[in-house]
Symmetry: C2
Subunit: 256 residues, 2 copies
């Protein structure tokens, strides 16, 4: 039932507002070379973000706010997530796990296992087109009502059934441990090996360094990281990244 | 004038065939979860390929042949390339180069600086939906008439003007050195520091290992790899990848 706000938003959009058919249409171009003289081609922008060609960006370009909003609330985002999850499962089910319980799958949390879309869809957040507001985001996080990313909840359940141990490795801080545990359990993530949150001593560390350090510690404990999934490249680059990485779409924000 | 086959193809497509307006429209989905029950969502497939979530694939899915063809011959591919090149230039122009001539930019060749689209657009190649045929591809390569990727030729010229030394690092073999030189020069790549091709001893090495080894050798010679651009993740992963990498779109084939 916790997923209601998310479904509600999507339902509203699908029933009361016609999702423009030209969501993905090409903008007018001038001439054969196809260069878009004015404005931003939001599909190209999103691809460049997803492929790590645009880095350290602070907000979604103003011109792309409604594009990103329609993408995130529409079917394409869900289908994009589903294809990543499907490929992750195809990879995972063909592995032979040890019987020592040390084969792990590392999941990031925000925009990977839990979705902050109900927060990001608010007018004053504008799908990331407005500058990040740590106060209002923390208030949202504290509510503990983030819905699951459906494709990855389904993947999680399948991985648990295959015998993987699950490690959640998140940039959320220890302050939100209990809220996060409650939130995860309420939406269906009922079991895990470890939930690793940032301690106060990690506060000034980049996600890339923090997560590399934590993964190195996991491997030092004997765990084998067979899969590693996150919505940020900083979840997947660095050291000890695991045997396979999976990049979940996220055109709303960038974390280094 | 060597670019004519490429332009010709694109012109034919744009003048004699209406590019379907629903090229990027969403396929029918069943229910709110947005999961595409039958068939492949080709946009999701392409995103998953570009983000390295689908690896070691041999051919474009049959269902996506016309999607990939329309994408490659249409404006979106060129715009996607342009946005990557624009971001590469924004990065490059803000660097301060040394006066020792050791600041280099590494470019892959096929589908990065030269385009094999006239070959891939042939019905029996089908934009990669038909299995790779090394014989016919070699025949095409030997002609030395591949057009430039427009956005990256433009980037190349700007990088040369900024003072970068250019290194072409390609999976093409030494057999095609003269053809490749002629081809590069004919389309506008007129100067470079090194053109590194695979020698016979590299023939069984993966691109990832071969290119890492060659980049390590460049750094051992004192070169600083400030930028590294390729259409395959195997151009950009491994060791000695350079200060920044740029992934050029390529949904037609995969090289490990």
């Amino acid at each position: 039932m916790r997923a209601l706000p998310f479904l509600y938003l999507a339902t509203i959009l699908e029933t009361t507002q016609v999702i423009p058919n030209n969501l993905h249409l090409l903008r007018p171009h001038s001439g054969l070379a196809g260069h878009n003289v004015e404005g931003i081609d939001c599909l190209s922008w999103r691809l460049a973000v997803e492929t790590d060609n645009i880095r350290s960006w602070s907000t979604v370009p103003e011109d792309c706010e409604s594009y990103v909003g329609n993408y995130m609330l529409g079917k394409q985002y869900r289908e994009d997530c589903q294809v990543v999850a499907d490929n992750a499962y195809t990879y995972a089910k063909n592995l032979t796990l040890g019987d020592d319980g040390l084969d792990i799958w590392v999941f990031d949390i925000d925009e990977t296992t839990l979705s902050n879309l109900p927060y990001y869809a608010q007018p004053d957040v504008a799908f990331g087109a407005v500058a990040y507001n740590s106060t209002t985001f923390s208030e949202w996080e504290a509510k503990g009502i983030a819905p699951a990313v459906p494709a990855n909840l389904d993947l999680y359940k399948k991985l648990v059934n295959l015998g993987f141990k699950i490690v959640f490795l998140t940039g959320r801080t220890e302050t939100y441990r209990n809220t996060t545990i409650e939130n995860l359990k309420n939406v269906g993530y009922t079991t895990w090996e470890k939930l690793i949150l940032k301690s106060s001593s990690d506060s000034s560390t980049t996600a890339l360094v923090y997560k590399s350090t934590q993964r190195a510690a996991l491997e030092a404990e004997g765990y084998r990281i067979l899969g590693n999934m996150g919505d940020q490249w900083s979840d997947l680059f660095g050291t000890n990244v695991g045997n396979r990485t999976f990049k979940v779409p996220d055109p709303m924000y960038y974390i280094s």
